[in-house]
């Protein structure tokens, strides 16, 4: 009986991972295939396979396809995937830590901090020596770091034990303050306005492989940090006091989660601007489908978040083609109703 339970539980998880992976692969193939020039799925697989295994294919494939896939669509899809994955896992971690299913990375003011960094860079035309093109992302990450530490210091000043409520409140205060700073800069700026607004709404277009190189190390670092803390996140979602009683070194683990979350959010905001709803909806969806255990919730959020943002980006560039919509518009348009439906469904059917 017991064995059976563990078995079915395990099977459920295997099914969950297969489903989520399939979703991501299909999203990627669709994202690469669909566009002004349609590339057959089989050709995509051949092109990418050839590139990875460095073998030349006997059949002739249109070199235009190869160019479109490798230089335009693949980097775009990969970047969208990485941004979606980063936001989703950071959201899942923050929700667990803050014990609030509706919290997201933005609650802590991390993304506002990152945005300020980016807008400042654009506004003053700051350029870090030798960084060149990477000045903008680096500044975003730097500012998200600074913001989270100021928020934490402030929260610690307000209350030494740093209760989650205090942190959330502090995050909201900083978000509003930094948001008005951005508005102020936008009002003061002249011709740079379009660029800033475009960036604020979020986009993963025309970024290329360089941006993937920027986000990838941060994504790996942040995700690993969170994955090793998945059991602590489980404990902390019962309250920090409870977690402490269970033997979790709460101060240290909380700090690790917050740092990892800000690395992920900061890097994502840096390469794509502010894209909302991913960090909110994806962990929520994953939790409703497969349960709140962070050991599985975090990896599943990565897979689903990546797939979701790839599809959102696909929609953003095809709906009113050739004009591109900001991706943030799509995520909100899809995210909000899905969120509502999930919330409604949750009332009627519960897992058991």
């Amino acid at each position: 009986m017991q064995k059976l339970f563990i078995q079915t539980n395990l099977n459920n998880k295997v099914v969950a991972y297969i489903t989520a992976s399939l979703f991501l692969v299909i999203a990627m193939l669709l994202g690469i295939s669909i566009g002004t020039v349609s590339v057959p799925v089989l050709d995509i697989i051949k092109i990418i396979g050839a590139k990875i295994f460095r073998i030349s294919i006997n059949e002739t494939i249109d070199p235009m396809y190869t160019n479109i896939v490798l230089n335009i669509r693949l980097p775009r899809v990969v970047l969208a995937g990485l941004v979606g994955a980063s936001l989703a896992i950071a959201g899942a971690a923050f929700q667990g830590l803050l014990r609030n299913p509706l919290a997201d990375p933005y609650t802590l003011g991390v993304s506002s901090g990152a945005s300020v960094g980016a807008v400042l860079t654009l506004f003053f035309g700051i350029s870090i020596p030798f960084a060149g093109l990477f000045t903008l992302p680096l500044m975003s990450i730097l500012f998200s770091f600074i913001t989270i530490f100021i928020v934490l210091m402030f929260a610690r000043k307000v209350e030494r034990t740093m209760k989650v409520e205090t942190i959330i409140l502090t995050g909201i205060i900083f978000s509003s303050f930094l948001g008005s700073l951005i508005s102020l800069m936008i009002s003061l700026t002249g011709e740079e306005l379009r660029q800033i607004i475009g960036w604020l709404l979020g986009s993963v277009s025309m970024r290329g492989w360089a941006y993937i190189n920027i986000i990838l190390p941060f994504f790996i670092l942040g995700s690993l940090l969170l994955l090793v803390n998945s059991r602590e996140l489980n404990a902390m979602s019962f309250g920090e006091e409870k977690a402490q009683y269970m033997g979790v070194n709460v101060q240290k683990r909380k700090m690790m989660v917050l740092i990892a979350g800000s690395i992920l959010t900061g890097a994502a905001v840096a390469v794509s601007g502010t894209i909302g709803f991913v960090g909110l909806v994806i962990p929520h969806l994953a939790r409703l489908l497969w349960g709140p255990d962070h050991k599985h919730l975090l990896p599943l959020s990565i897979l689903v978040g990546a797939g979701f943002l790839i599809l959102a980006d696909l929609a953003a560039r095809t709906v009113i083609s050739p004009t591109e919509l900001p991706i943030g518009v799509i995520t909100a348009l899809i995210g909000a109703p899905v969120f509502g439906v999930i919330l409604m469904k949750r009332r009627t059917e519960r897992r058991g």
């Binding site: 017991q2 339970f5 563990i6 667990g96 014990r99 609030n100 299913p101 030494r160 090793v228 059991r231 489980n234 404990a235 979602s237 019962f238 309250g239 006091e241 409870k242 402490q244 009683y245 269970m246 033997g247 979790v248 070194n249 709460v250 939790r287 349960g291 709140p292 255990d293 519960r350 897992r351 058991g352």
Partner: protein
Amino acid sequence: MLSVQHLTGGYVGDSVVKDVSFEVDKGLLFGILGPNGSGKTTLLKMLSGLLPFTNGEVLLNKKSIKEYSSKELAKMMAVLPQHSVQSFSYTVQETVALGRYAHQKGWFQNWSEADEQIVQRVMEQTGVIQFKNHDIQELSGGERQRVFLAQALAQEPKILLLDEPTNHLDLSYQKDLLDLLKGWTTDRSLTVVSIFHDLNLASLYCDRLLLLENGKVNINDVPNEVLQEERIRSVYQTKIQKQPHPKVPAPQMVMLPESLSMDKQPIIIDQSFFIRSADDHIALRSPIPLRTMSSGVVGSGTGWHQVFVNRHVSKDYNCSNHRKEMIDYLKAHGFEPGETVGMMTAVMLEDVSHQLINAEDFSIFIVVTAGVGNAVDAARSEMHSFQITPGTINTWMFVSGELTEEAFIQSIMTATEAKVKAMEDLKVQDAVTGTIATGTSTDSILIAATQRGAQLEFAGTITPLGRTIGKGVYSCTVEAIKKSRQRIRT
């Protein structure tokens, strides 16, 4: 097991707990009491290592809790806080399994067979195994509390700290939970330190109690010493009264509502309160519940009663369950058994004798029905065979005054002595022994007091109350016996 030495501390700039010292031995259920704000929860948080303390030391197995790592401490000590947050739909099994956190090693810990067994065991012991696949958010408060208890027990602690574990629980869950904890302390030598809000529960279950007052130890002793009326009144700043538990040698505290002690218009109970509803009983209905001590068929012992019924039954009344039959009788006649003292007699009720005696600041109303058909000399009663027949001298005393427990008992003694004297003066003989009888084999007595008006501390034979009882019971008994004899002769 746990040793607390001169512990001082609390929140920033304010020491909530001041110089608290105590020891808890292994296998004890140790209760912490105190009014709101006395520092109970703060003390518990310091014991559990959650709050740092400014002074003093907490030793767990002779080692300072500051020297334990988070995980080491969690293996020794589990805590069940007052409020548990649950924001996500974890299943019961997942929740309980989290209790094994401290026992698992490495980053990607393996769930061992032993872990699984412990989780299953504690779920069985706390009775939550049948919900193991349920969402904890679906459970009731009591079930959820048991899930968190299972989680704490999954830590396999040597000592368990609880903050008002029975808060928000139904009566039956309170009992189950505390029975469970008590069982663990005796069977498994688990040490339990628990905050209690309810003094009576603490008294029932704890081996020792620590009473906190303004962050300091008021007393640390066994429940009977800690729960003294004067002490609890001054610490809790409220009116309470101590009384024994009916079944268990544990003191219980009862509250005294202000409104009751306010409205104390004296009431005199006299014949105007007789109600005539049927021929086969005499009934008296008091306008207020009276404090009673009686040996009736219904409502005997001590209590509060408003209606008093003396029922006539035939001489050959015989019933296997006379108590139930009497209750049915009362119900059939519109009396509420819970507020009634009911007696039986074979005597004709017309022969009742009653008398109101007014003393200086109180009055007493005495009602006696008497027949001496089966009179017995108590000193030689072993010569009688045992047989319950309906009582033949039923004595009621209604005192308009406030009596102490002592006065109640003395009233019964005095009334009995007066009755014996009446028997003697009327030369009532015991048919079996041929000596003067002291009463009949099934006499009943009732003393009821309004508990308003004059304070009557004693009722010995020469006290004011004793004198009136003696005089009244004697004359009423004599009169009732005479009436009864008259009837038999004619």
